[in-house]
Symmetry: C2
Subunit: 325 residues, 2 copies
């Protein structure tokens, strides 16, 4: 079941279709090569979580029975383009071969092309944000800066068996939660929501993003390659020690000796098993559940928001935090 069905908001599928059309339009370019490269991942599809959040935030602020305003669709496209642009650069950084079932841009063309096309998508996102006014443009720019900060922080602790929970939390706030928060806030901004409402939407997005990323990081330890649609355990191989691994390291004094450097497939399987066995995953999932609760509370505190849409958003949180892949 897709996100849109989970939410049970009748106008959402149609508005997501408008987002899809606008996304395709935003990356069209008279230079056919640049247009091809820029639209590569747009065409590959995706869950469109961030645009869904922007649309839902707009519904929440204006009422569930109103199709999203054009500005909400534009905002949804801008946040998705930030996500896609960062994926182009991530795939260069990770030397990824595939993404969303198709060859990555770096693999199909080159790192050079992926860097420039990623820059182009970020620039298109900024242009759309500017069309929504200076406050949205400023928010999007700050969000891209936060994405960079989060990723740079993560890099500083690669293969660091002493990585702290605080360091992890700060990194995922930058690399994931800030864009979730911005997706929600932009939906409110284009709907002229007041400051307390915008802050509630932002808190909702932040906690949802934190919970989402922690679950993602747990699945890297516990899910199969088939369920994930990509090789499991990649974080461990790349030296990104996430919350369940940090917890496992605290409880299993022998684990640190096995981490801290490259892992062959046998060692990887062993480490995944040990980390998943000693309760660390459950402890990390409890933190994710706590963020899900806080996300729901953020909505409950904003009485200006449509209660039906808020119910849908709470279902979305449950769906994203309880997911198995």
């Amino acid at each position: 079941m897709g996100l849109a069905e989970t939410l049970e908001l009748p106008l959402l599928p149609g508005d997501l279709g408008r987002v899809e059309d606008a996304l395709a339009g935003a990356v069209r370019h008279p230079d056919r090569f640049l247009g091809d490269v820029a639209s590569h991942l747009v065409r590959a599809g995706g869950k469109r979580i961030r645009p869904t959040l922007t649309l839902c935030a707009a519904y929440a602020a204006t009422g569930a029975d109103r199709a999203a305003a054009e500005d909400a669709v534009t905002g949804a496209v801008a946040v998705e383009l930030v996500h896609l642009g960062s994926l182009y650069h991530d795939d260069v950084i990770d030397e990824a071969e595939t993404r969303r079932g198709v060859p990555s841009v770096n693999a199909r063309w080159s790192n050079i092309v992926a860097i420039l096309a990623g820059d182009y998508l970020l620039a298109r996102a900024s242009a759309l944000a500017a069309s929504l006014g200076a406050p949205v443009a400023a928010l999007l720019a700050a969000t891209i800066g936060e994405l960079c900060r989060g990723q740079v922080l993560e890099l500083q602790h690669l293969f660091d068996v002493a990585r702290s929970e605080e360091d992890y939390a700060s990194a995922i706030e930058g690399k994931t939660a800030t864009l979730f928060a911005t997706a929600c806030r932009v939906g409110g901004m284009v709907s002229a929501a007041d400051e307390p409402t915008l802050d509630a939407l932002t808190r909702f997005g932040t906690h949802l993003g934190l919970g989402y990323q922690i679950v993602d990081d747990c699945l890297d330890l516990t899910a199969t390659d088939d369920a994930l649609g990509k090789p499991a355990g990649q974080d461990l191989v790349e030296g990104i020690y996430t919350l369940p691994v940090i917890y496992a390291l605290a409880d299993d004094s022998g684990l640190a000796e096995r981490l801290g450097g490259p892992l062959d497939s046998q060692r990887l399987a062993e480490v995944r098993q040990r980390a998943a066995a000693n309760g660390a995953v459950e402890a990390a999932l409890a933190v994710a559940a706590d963020h899900a609760t806080k996300a729901a509370e953020a909505l409950a505190g904003a009485d200006t928001l449509d209660s039906g849409v808020c119910d849908s958003l709470r279902r979305l949180v449950e769906g994203l935090v309880d997911r198995q892949s």
Copy 2:
């Protein structure tokens, strides 16, 4: 003699000092590592041509006797950060070891860090542009998009001995001239210049940028390593066939056989000599001179601009187009 002295504008050195301080402030970051990486090229200095253009455009629009408004300084910093961010990514693309006499970011840290820090500088530029209002934010975003277009177009014609003059012109307009034009236009925008004046400043910047890049490309063929402060002939080695090479190819039927692929140092010396000998460089410099004339004419057509500042800008054009390094 530096740019500021050439221009003989008494307030310029002081305002460029303000730009320098604001640049340093713009890349400061609580994460010490990110702050170090982001400020690496800022600290290495540079000619600051683009900030100089923004300040001069502001003087031209408001009068030579007025220190630049804070917004002009902010605009100058934003355009320089776009330039610096693109250099971070260029150096990854070119696998450059040094930049401005210091190790490049990719060489000192890694490609990954250079990609993320380049993104961060572009995001900081966008944030500053947004602080100047939506029109400046939109212009800067479009400019970054044009930079990408120009570079992607150049990539498509690497080692292409059939590269056309039109293709070259379109690529350098994107990768160089658009940011020169934006630097000038932003100076006018923050000074509330009217549309015809903004268009004149933009035309001035475009033609200056085109002339500047063509001269740069000629120097790659004619100057010594010492004069350039970097290895001459790099464009030929990387397969970027610039205007003088395109002209040389048209007049020297044997040259195409020598180009189209990698060059060893002996072959490089021979190609540089042949391209420089048959009048191709002079023909390209004549095109640069034509752009210099058009830049001067653009200013002459705008009677709202301060005539003393316009005289200074014409000297700047001459200095940049007549330069030997």
